[in-house]
Symmetry: C2
Subunit: 480 residues, 2 copies
C-alpha cells in the first residue's frame, strides 16, 4: 500500500485570525469535539490526558497541604440555592433545572450544580460541632454546569470539569492563609508545570465571586493579547456560614460561625495552555504537562536493525519515566509523522534511521524552537531529560517575554485606550476603586480590571480614568 | 482537660438486623451521609478514599490494557436517547430531565445520563472512518443519575460515581475478547484488592443490560446471604452501531458496523466491601483497599520518649509506602482510639508505650481476627508488610469460606425454596433457559438468576422449577 505522505491541516493564521486558529488547533490536534448538546464538548483522549496531568499535580499538592477529597450531590434544591442572595443572583441566570424524574414532576426543582457552596454548606452545618473539628479541608473533583449563550471549547462551555476546595476555619487569619496558600498552589501549576507566567492579585468588587468577601486570582496573557482568568481562590468570610447556619462551640463554649474559603480551577486551563504556547504549526506543549514528551520516529523502518534500535531506545526512555511514544505506523511516511506530532505539540521528536545507527547517534528536533541536533546513543538517557528541562524553561521564558512586551503602564487615559484598542495586552494603571468608574472604562474600551496585583507600584496619585485619588494599581485587559 | 474515654457506637446487631447494621456502620465509620436531595448521598473523605483506591487500581489496569480516558457530556438529548428501543425502555423510567436553563424553557428536553452509550455512539458515528482506526478503546470516569424509588448509600442511589468503558472492534471475536478481558480486570479488583471472591458468568436475557447482546457479570455473596452484582461487561454486538449509524470502511473498502462493548463498575462496590467483610465492631477493610493500613497509637504519650519512638516508627513505615497514621490526639484515651479505628476497619493497630520501648518492641493487634502479638522494633519494617499480606489473604479466605458454606446445589424445587427462604445464600440449580419460568421462580421465592457461571456442572437434566430439559446451571439468590 502506498504510504500517506500528505498531511493536511488547514490551520488558520494565528496572527490574523486567532479565534479560528484556536478552533483549528484544538480540532486538528484531536483534543476536543463538539457534541449534540448545545455548548457541551467532548474531551477526547489527547485533551483529557492533559487534564489528568493537571489533576495529578494538583491532587498531590492538595493532599500534601492536608486536604482530603469528598463528593457531594450534583443536584441542589432550589430553596437551598436561594438562601445566599448574592450567590443566587450570580448563578440563577445560567443554571440548568431538573423538573422531572421518569414521568413524574418533582415537587421542588433541582438545579444542576454551577458550583457547590450551597450544598456543601448545608452538610457542613449538619456536621460541624466543635472548634476541635476545625479546620475542614475538603476538595471535590467534579463536573459543573453553567448554561452559556456563547461557548468555546475549554474556555467557556455549558458543562466543564473542575475541582472545588471548600474549607472551614476558626479564624479569619487562618482562612486568609488558606486562600492565599491555594492560590500559590495554582500559580505553581501554571508557572512550573504549564510554563505560563501569572499575575497574582485580588479581584475588584464587581469581578469577585458571587457571595465572597474577597476573590484572589491568577491572570495570564494569551498570545493574542487578551487575558485569561486561570484560577480563583475566595475568602468567603462568614457570609455563607451565617446564612447556612454553620456553627460550632468555640474554646469558650460559645457558638460561632466559622470562616470559609473556596477555590477552583477547571478544564479552562487547557484553553490557556493552547493560547499561550501554540504557534502556526499547532499545539506546543511544555514537557511537564505533555501526554507525550518525546516521540520516536524510525526512518526507513524496514531496513534491518532500525526498528530494533528504536524499540531499545523506547524501552530505555520509558524505564526512566519519560512519557515516550514509538510511532511505528507503516501506513504513513516519516514526514507525515513529523507534521502530525508537531501539530500535537510533542516537545521532542527523535529520529533514528540507518545512517544514525551507523554513527551511533540519533537526531532530535525540539518543538519549542525547531532546533535540531544529534545525541550519541549512549547519552540519550542523560540528554533527553535535560532537553525536556531546557524546553520547559525556554517555554516559560518565551511566555514571560511575550507578556512583558505586551504590558504597559498608563498614567493617562489616551495611552490606556490606545494600548487596549490595539489589542496588545495588559495595561497597568492606577484606579480610584469605584465600581462605576470601572464600568465606564469597560464600556469605553472593552477592558476589565483583571486584578490588583500583590506587587503594587504607585504609578501616579490619581485614577487613570476619572482623575479622583487613586486607591491601587490594577491590571486591565480585554479578557476571555 | 479530661480525656474522652467513652466511645459510643450504637451499631445494630449484624445477625438480627443486617440492614440497620449496614446503615450504622457506614454512618459511624464516617464514610457517607444523606444529603438534602432525595436519594443522593454525600461521600465523605473516608468513603471517598476507598473509591480513589479503586480508581487507582482500575485506571492503571485500563491503561495497561491499551485504554484511554475521555469525557462525554452529562446531558443527552431526548431524541438521541430514544433511538435504541430496548435501551430507552430500560432507562426512561428512571432518568432525570432538564427542561429549563436559566429562565428559558429548552426546545428539547435533556436527560441526565443514566449511562452514556447513546451520546458516545453519536460521537463514534462522527469519528470512525476506517478499519485502521479500530479498535476504539475508551473509558470515562463520571457521575450518572438513575432516579430510584428506594435508595441505600453506595448500593442504590439516584446519583453515583462509576467508570464506563466503551469500545469498538472490527470483529465479534475481538469484542468478545475485550468483554471478557475487562470482566477479568474487575474480578482481579474484587478478589486481589478487595478480598471478595466472585462468581463470573453470563446474565440471563431478562437480567441483561438494556440493548446488549450479552451481559457478563461478577456476583458476590454478602454476609447476610444476599447476592450483589459487583460489575458488568456487555457484548453489545452491532445493536447500537447499527441504530446510531457507526460505520467504517473495512479492508475491502465496504461499509461495516463495528462490534461494540461497554463495561462498568461503580461506588456500589464499596457497599459490597462493607457487607462482605464488616462485623459486629464495624468496618473491616482488606489492607490493599484500606485508606489507612496501620494506625499507631502511643500509650502514655506524655511519658518521655514515647511520642518520639512513635514518630520514628511512623516515618519508617511511611517511607516503605505503607499507608500509616499516627493518632497523637491528646483529647481522647487510647481505649477510645482502639474502638474508633476498629470501627473504621484499619487492618493493623500498633501500640507503643513505655514498657514496649523498654523491651524494644511494639504490640500489634489485627483487625481481621483480633489476634495480638509483639514485634521487635527493628523487625517492624519487615513484619508489618507481612502482616498486611497475611490479613489480606485471610480476609479473602474467610469470605470464600462463608460463600462456600452458604451455597447449595438444588435438584428439586423444595430444596431450592428452602435455601432461599432461609436467606442463606446462593443456590446452584439447572434451568430451562425460559424467561417466564425465571419470572415464576422470582415471584415464588424472591430469588433471581444471578448468572450462568463460566464453570458449569450438569447437576441434573431438567429445570429445577418447571422440569423441562435444562439448558444450563445458574446461580440463584435474593439480591441487592
Amino acid at each position: 500500500m502506498a504510504k500517506n505522505t500528505q498531511f493536511v491541516t488547514h490551520i488558520a493564521n494565528r496572527e490574523t485570525d486567532f479565534s479560528q486558529w484556536y478552533t483549528d488547533v484544538i480540532m486538528h490536534a484531536d483534543m476536543v469535539d463538539y457534541s449534540n448538546v448545545r455548548g457541551c464538548m467532548v474531551i477526547k483522549p489527547y485533551g483529557y490526558a492533559i487534564w489528568e496531568n493537571i489533576q495529578k499535580y494538583l491532587d498531590e499538592r492538595f493532599k500534601e497541604t492536608g486536604h482530603e477529597n469528598a463528593y457531594f450531590p450534583i443536584f441542589i434544591p432550589e430553596s437551598l440555592l436561594q438562601k445566599e442572595v448574592d450567590h443566587v443572583e450570580g448563578f440563577a441566570p445560567e443554571v440548568a433545572w431538573v423538573t422531572h424524574a421518569g414521568s413524574e414532576e418533582l415537587t421542588e426543582r433541582l438545579c444542576v450544580r454551577p458550583t457547590s457552596e450551597t450544598i456543601i454548606c448545608s452538610m457542613y452545618a449538619k456536621w460541624l460541632k466543635s472548634y476541635r473539628d476545625l479546620p475542614y479541608l475538603y476538595n471535590q473533583w467534579a463536573n459543573v454546569v453553567r448554561w452559556e449563550k456563547t461557548t468555546r471549547p475549554f474556555l467557556r462551555t455549558s458543562e466543564f470539569l473542575w475541582q472545588e476546595g471548600h474549607t472551614l476555619h476558626e479564624t479569619h487569619e487562618e482562612a486568609m492563609e488558606e486562600t492565599l496558600k491555594m492560590l500559590g498552589v495554582y500559580a505553581d501549576l501554571a508557572e512550573k508545570v504549564m510554563a505560563i507566567p501569572v499575575i497574582k492579585g485580588q479581584k475588584s468588587e464587581n469581578e469577585r465571586f458571587a457571595g465572597a468577601e474577597a476573590t484572589y486570582t491568577m491572570e495570564a496573557l494569551m498570545h493574542d493579547g487578551k487575558a485569561l482568568q486561570m484560577g480563583t481562590s475566595h475568602d468567603l468570610g462568614q457570609h455563607f456560614s451565617k446564612v447556612y447556619d454553620i456553627e460550632y462551640s468555640d474554646r469558650n463554649g460559645e457558638l460561632q460561625n466559622p470562616y470559609q474559603t473556596s477555590w477552583g480551577v477547571s478544564t479552562r486551563l487547557i484553553g490557556g495552555l493552547i493560547m499561550v504556547h501554540g504557534d502556526e504549526r499547532g499545539l506546543k506543549l511544555p514537557p511537564r504537562i505533555a501526554p507525550v514528551q518525546a516521540v520516536i520516529v524510525p526512518i526507513a523502518a524496514n531496513k534491518e536493525g532500525v526498528l530494533d534500535k528504536a524499540i531499545e531506545l523506547y524501552n530505555s526512555l520509558k524505564a526512566q519515566g519519560i512519557k515516550v511514544k514509538l510511532d511505528d505506523r507503516d501506513t504513513v511516511s516519516p514526514g507525515f509523522k513529523f507534521n502530525e506530532w508537531e501539530l500535537k505539540g510533542v516537545p521532542v521528536r527523535i529520529e533514528i534511521g540507518p545512517k544514525d545507527i551507523e554513527k551511533g547517534s540519533v537526531v532530535y528536533a525540539r518543538r519549542d524552537d525547531f532546533s535540531k541536533g544529534e545525541i550519541k546513543m549512549d547519552e540519550t538517557t542523560k540528554r533527553i531529560p535535560e532537553l525536556l528541562d531546557e524546553i520547559q524553561d525556554n517555554m516559560f521564558n518565551q511566555a514571560l517575554e511575550h507578556r512583558e512586551a505586551h504590558t504597559v503602564d498608563a498614567t493617562d487615559f489616551e495611552t490606556f485606550t490606545g494600548h487596549i484598542e490595539s489589542g496588545s495586552g495588559f495595561v497597568r494603571a492606577m484606579w480610584c476603586g469605584c465600581g462605576e468608574c470601572e464600568e465606564e472604562i469597560k464600556e469605553k474600551t472593552g477592558a476589565t480590571t483583571r486584578c490588583a496585583p500583590f506587587e503594587q507600584k504607585q504609578l501616579s496619585d490619581v485614577c487613570v480614568h476619572c482623575g479622583k485619588p487613586a486607591k491601587k494599581m490594577m491590571y486591565f485587559a480585554k479578557a476571555y
